[in-house]
Amino acid sequence: MRAHPSFIVAGAGLALAVAYLLVGREYSLGTLPAPGPGLFPRGLGVVLAAVSVWGMRQSLQSGPAEVLQVKTDGGTRTAVVVAALLVFAAALPSLGSIPAIFLLSAISLFVMGWRSWSALAGGSLVISLSVHFLFASLLGSSLPQGIWPW
């Protein structure tokens, strides 16, 4: 049997609620005249659990209309862009902003259909240098230098 995507989301909500309530046991409930830091989260966890169960019931009743289609060309493209973003996040502190932006630009331009290597390299270089100049020089942000000499 194939699970309904919304059912999975509601189920994830329930799992989150249970985990939240378990962690929340560490914090004191206090009393009504002096509520502690655990009171509000405890109530919130219960509400989240109830809403999630309601959502699971609603999803089961709503039929098979929604089907999350990820296994398409679009899905692959999206997954590659997400991977490029993660590579960017990992590379930013160690490689520095210019190489990290270059990588992200090159991958996203390739995914969006650019196939000429010279255009990819040239476009990515222009974008990485311009964005670095805009943020670091004009807006005064301190971007990680990494292996980049300047």
């Binding site: 509601a10 929340g24 830091p37 862009v81 973003l85 996203s108 990485s128 807006l139």
Partner: protein, 505 residues
Amino acid sequence: MDLLSYGFSIALTPANVLAALLGALVGTAVGVLPGIGPSGAIAILLPATLAFPPATSLIMLAGIFYGSQYGGSTTAILLNMPGEATAVITCRDGYQMALKGRAGAALTIAGVGSFIAGTLGVVGLTVATAAIAEAALAFGPPEYFALGLLGLAFLSRLSSAAPWKNLLLITVGILLSTVGQDPLTGEARFTLGSVGLLSGISLVPVLMGVYGIAEVLAVVKERSGFPHIASVKLRDLLPTRDEWRTSALPIARGTLLGFPLGMIPGPAPLMSTYLSYALEKRLSKTPERFGTGAIEGVAGPEAANNSATTGTLAPLLALGLPFTGATALLLAGMTIQGVQPGPLLISQHPEIFWGVIASMYIGNVALLLLNVPLVGLWVSLLRLPQALLVCLILVFTVIGAYSIRNNATDVYVLICSGVVGFLLRSLDFDMAPLVLGMVLGPVMEENFRRSLFASDGNLLIFVGSPISAVMMAVLVLVIVLPGFIRIARSRSIARRRIPDEQAVH
């Protein structure tokens, strides 16, 4: 009047005029380009505005916000492709007018209607914000708690997704806001031992993720090119005398309808367009023309959405409570600049309040001048290489998220939020409830606990004052009324069915 003159003295400085123009330009551009909405654009540009003084940065962000409503109608009329959700209804008659060779007239009426509604909306905003802010000075913790609860209840009912989906995201949003230090005792909560989470989950990367990154991922998934666009000649832009006459009252009604709706939590600008369209059709002597190119079907909704957009700023400025995703972004823009909107904003930061208000008059004039005569230029934006746009937006968003706190963790939060936002949106979840849950959660928790402290644990404090009692009564109605209506409707259908069945037998 003196205060407004003071506002103009701030808004008319070269930097602020430039900021208003830039905001209007970017707003129109994102309105024209399908995919990236005003929330996405504000999210992407938020870090870049940190370099400006607070008033200048807010003038620009507000310009993007209201400017996008102007641009949305252009592609709706010319291509039957709404640039913004609020322009969906404009497609019906606007595109039909374009097919009949009246695209120019529809664009002009939409632009002028938007200008009138936007400008009158600013007058309404000035009056309403001052009045609400004065009334809100009497608000204590129970009133703020009730207001937060009421706002979220309205949102769960009125937002575009199913109520359970809205409630789920509201609750998750509030849950995320509890990570970090307890607002009253300072005790670390839900940090799982991470020092990085002690200061909580920052709102800005979440906003940038669920609006900016999620929208870009959706564009990457679709990767559909923009269609060929016919050109509109300048001489075709002038509506006939009859078209002006027919549009005047719908514009007035749309303006009056939109502004109060804008102050209600939920997707007010979108709702206002549908209500205005329905109203115009009902009032028309020839309702059959609607859907075939009736100018009233363009004039009313366009005025209504601009007026409603301005109205959404009133609760933000007067109470510090945003009731839409885009106003939550404006709140984030204010708080990272160290400005706290609320009842004291007008007295503590008059330069910001009056400067932004005055800049909106300037922005609306600029938008009228930029939109109608330069329609060809805006439409040519659709000829930009989509790959380049996607790449630039991605790079701006990730570098922007990093540069706010120079924190690599924020980039991971941004990516996670973007992926979650993309997946949930493909399942018809609306992301505004998550964001508003995150914004209103701390307000509600703090005021809930303060109320209990103040009343020695007496829960009746939440209905103790007339204001909070009324809000709680409305809250009960918002929760209970839809159920009653559903039951009454099903009973009435059942009652109608019985005689039909008896007649068959």
